[in-house]
Subunit: 254 residues, 2 copies
């Protein structure tokens, strides 16, 4: 055992106003910062701290690198956008440990939660996640598409609010179209839908629509898509964007 | 229109290390703080700021009070534990607006996200929410129990990781027993289960078990219960509590 450790740090959706004090402190304390290029570049250069920026989709290599450095005594911060525990780096690190050595299982690891994209989106829109909801990644890089179909179907049958992560990318434009086609066969066309892109960042873009009228190609890799339950509703406002929320009451009378 | 507004502030699960800079700033800026007694009492007294602490289960009265004060020009912070958008005050405020007046719909409202209990619990345990998951409140104060049954069943059919909020209270001890009985009929007894009580606070208590062996009465109103998917697993460690995580890969070979 050395004094080394891995701290998996959630940076939140971007702006510093959402970075927790715990995460800030860890970023100062680390001897090494490891992460996907845009997250690492966002952080200031600090004397005595080494930044290791890597490309996307090499999460396991990144986790392995962090384990090696920690076992040499480094204090390694692995940075992740949003919450590292939600479709992000924490699971990759534990996969590396689970398939690794006794030394890996003995390595000290801390996970620091962060504000996830669905929370920033929900806060920006009103309170669409105000009642039972589920979060589904539409990426089929690591799971078969039939698992995604099964989960979307169950989410509709359970009348959950649905938050879709990784709805589309340049190399993977089709999943969001297939997901909408399926959900349209299972849910009312009047169901509220929000495309919340890059919430809190300069390139933020919000599109509010319905399941029947939505254009799925509105979603890109920076977009969080929220699809309502049967209870989710808009509150129309004079001269302003409507609020979107899901009541705590099931069957609320207006 | 006045300069008044409502800011719905997520305090996170308790410790200041999880309070975002945005939330800290809002708590300083507010003329009035409204919330459930323990959340309001946790905050320091500030000159020129009025604290209105109310009992639990009066969320709509609290929202109405905040709307009235904001319409008189006050800057009102409604404080909520965790994330106000997740089973908390934000939906109550929008319910009050939705059933309210034109003045209510014109009132300026901001929602500030916070770290939710399931995120703090997940970070403490490893990465159990590392893949598709759902969040279900077991409180049947505001929704019929058959909706809860429907959602638990769908969550099992979709093989989601399940985070249960409000699993039990002194007046409502039965739901968690009924939920476990149902899930035991639908999922493997080997499914990992975590009871994560008051994570990050002095009275934190963690119980790691399986669906087959769990004692549902372990849960109280401060407990977040996590029930794994078919992929969720423990990583055993020598002399330490095992990690709990859900791989990003479906069907990960170890």
């Amino acid at each position: 055992m050395t004094s080394g450790k891995i701290i998996i740090v959630g940076l939140g959706p971007g702006p510093d106003r959402w970075l927790t004090p715990e995460a800030s402190h860890a970023l100062e304390e680390a001897t090494d910062i490891i992460g996907y290029i845009p997250y690492v570049e966002r952080l200031p250069d600090r004397q005595g701290q080494v930044k290791h920026a890597t490309d996307n989709r090499v999460e396991i290599d990144r986790a392995r690198h962090a384990l090696d450095l920690a076992q040499q005594g480094h204090v390694v911060a692995i940075v992740s956008g949003g919450d590292p525990g939600v479709f992000a780096m924490a699971a990759a690190v534990f996969e590396a440990i689970d398939t690794g050595t006794d030394a890996d299982r003995a390595t000290k690891v801390q996970v620091l939660p962060g504000i996830s994209a669905m929370q920033a989106a929900a806060a920006r829109l009103g309170a669409p996640l105000g009642h039972d909801f589920c979060a589904i990644s539409l990426s089929d890089n690591l799971k078969p598409w039939d698992v995604i179909i099964r989960r979307l179907t169950a989410a509709a049958e359970g009348d959950f609010v649905i938050a879709l992560y990784n709805p589309a990318s340049k190399t993977r434009p089709q999943p969001i179209h297939d997901a909408f086609a399926l959900l349209r066969s299972l849910k009312s066309p009047a169901t509220p839908v929000a495309f919340a892109r890059a919430v809190g960042r300069p390139d933020e873009r919000i599109v509010l629509t319905t399941l029947g009228e939505a254009d799925p190609s509105t979603a890109d890799m920076s977009t969080l898509v929220i699809i309502g339950s049967s209870e989710t509703r808009f509150i129309e406002r004079e001269g302003q964007e409507p609020w979107l929320y899901t009541p705590r009451h099931y069957g609320l009378k207006r």
